[in-house]
């Protein structure tokens, strides 16, 4: 290690200590940062969100019993991602789309072989043969059950892309059809926007949950949330697979 490395390590430690000091020991009223456990939540805006359940305002929610709550998803993270803050999610998948498009613009030639030059060993190929359908199925399961269990479109799409990455690692000549990827991606993006516009037409605000939310905890529930999450899953899976394919075949 050279002197420069020690110097930068020292500077990073000093900077981290300063930041830690600024937030840990501070009890000023000007910053409104208090010691852990001494915050009076009644003064904060967040108390309204803590008191208000994601699904209903007053009555308790009973699993597989309550009918038509506000947003019928039993995984409340999904409620926020695909319903309350769905516009943010639209922005996120747009960012991912722009990243994939930029990569394809720089590296997009699909007529070369992959980076490794040869097939993987027999053991890897057999393992991939077994793992690929299982991983693909797991990805679809995570996407489809996004409103019931942890996970959803982003995670499931990434699992599907990982399954395709395994195929690329095992076989030298494996190619993805980029036309199919483009069609899937465009279909998912346009359907997302159309669902949002239907909400705008029927209920007066973009991406409102305009369908009936059903019984909480059942598979067919939560209105548009599973539809939007499946579309996100298709889009993320197609985009990440395209990124991997462009990187390996460039």
């Amino acid at each position: 290690m050279r002197f420069r490395d020690y110097l930068s390590l020292f500077l990073v430690i000093v900077l981290g200590f300063i930041i830690f000091q600024a937030f840990a020991g501070r009890t000023d009223d000007s910053l409104n940062i208090k010691q852990f456990g001494e915050v009076n939540l009644n003064e904060r805006t967040s108390i309204h969100y803590i008191n208000k359940d994601v699904n209903s305002e007053t009555t308790p929610i009973i699993y597989k019993n309550t009918q038509n709550p506000e947003s019928g998803s039993s995984n409340y993270v999904t409620s926020i991602i695909a319903n309350y803050r769905a516009l943010d999610t639209l922005g996120e998948i747009t960012v991912l789309f722009i990243a994939a498009a930029g990569l394809a613009f720089v590296l997009g030639e699909h007529n070369k072989n992959n980076a490794f030059g040869s097939d993987a060993s027999f053991i890897v190929k057999t393992g991939v043969k077994i793992l690929f359908p299982l991983l693909f199925l797991l990805g679809i399961y995570i996407v489809v059950h996004g409103h019931l269990t942890p996970g959803g479109g982003f995670q499931g799409g990434a699992v599907i892309a990982t399954a395709i990455l395994l195929k690329f690692l095992a076989y030298k000549d494996y190619k993805l059809n980029h036309t199919t990827l483009t069609i899937l991606e465009s279909f998912a993006g346009i359907s997302f926007l159309i669902i949002g516009l239907i909400g705008l037409y029927t209920d007066g605000s973009f991406l409102t949950n305009f369908l009936a939310t059903g019984t909480i905890g059942t598979f067919f529930s939560a209105g548009i949330i599973p539809i939007i999450y499946i579309l996100i899953g298709i889009k993320v899976g197609a985009e990440l697979s395209g990124i991997i394919s462009n990187l390996i075949n460039a």
């Binding site: 290690m1 995984n75 990434a158 892309a161 990455l165 991997i244 990187l247």
Partner: protein
Amino acid sequence: MMILSYLLILLMIIGALAAVLFENLLNSIISLGLISLIAAALMYILKAPDVAMTEAIIGAGLTTSIFIFTLIKINRGDSQ
């Protein structure tokens, strides 16, 4: 559970230092994947399974592989 958290955080700091200090870039990338994997375990301990899944799949799986492919592309697999 508290001791396990401290242990994981210590491992994370070691991984971060290793990622910076390794001469070989491939080792640095693998250390980065290790950091993401430990972060996923910490997220699970903090009762955020959604974030833990994202971190484990994207941080430890996809990002590591994309970095490695980029490394192959720019022909800098050997140490500088």
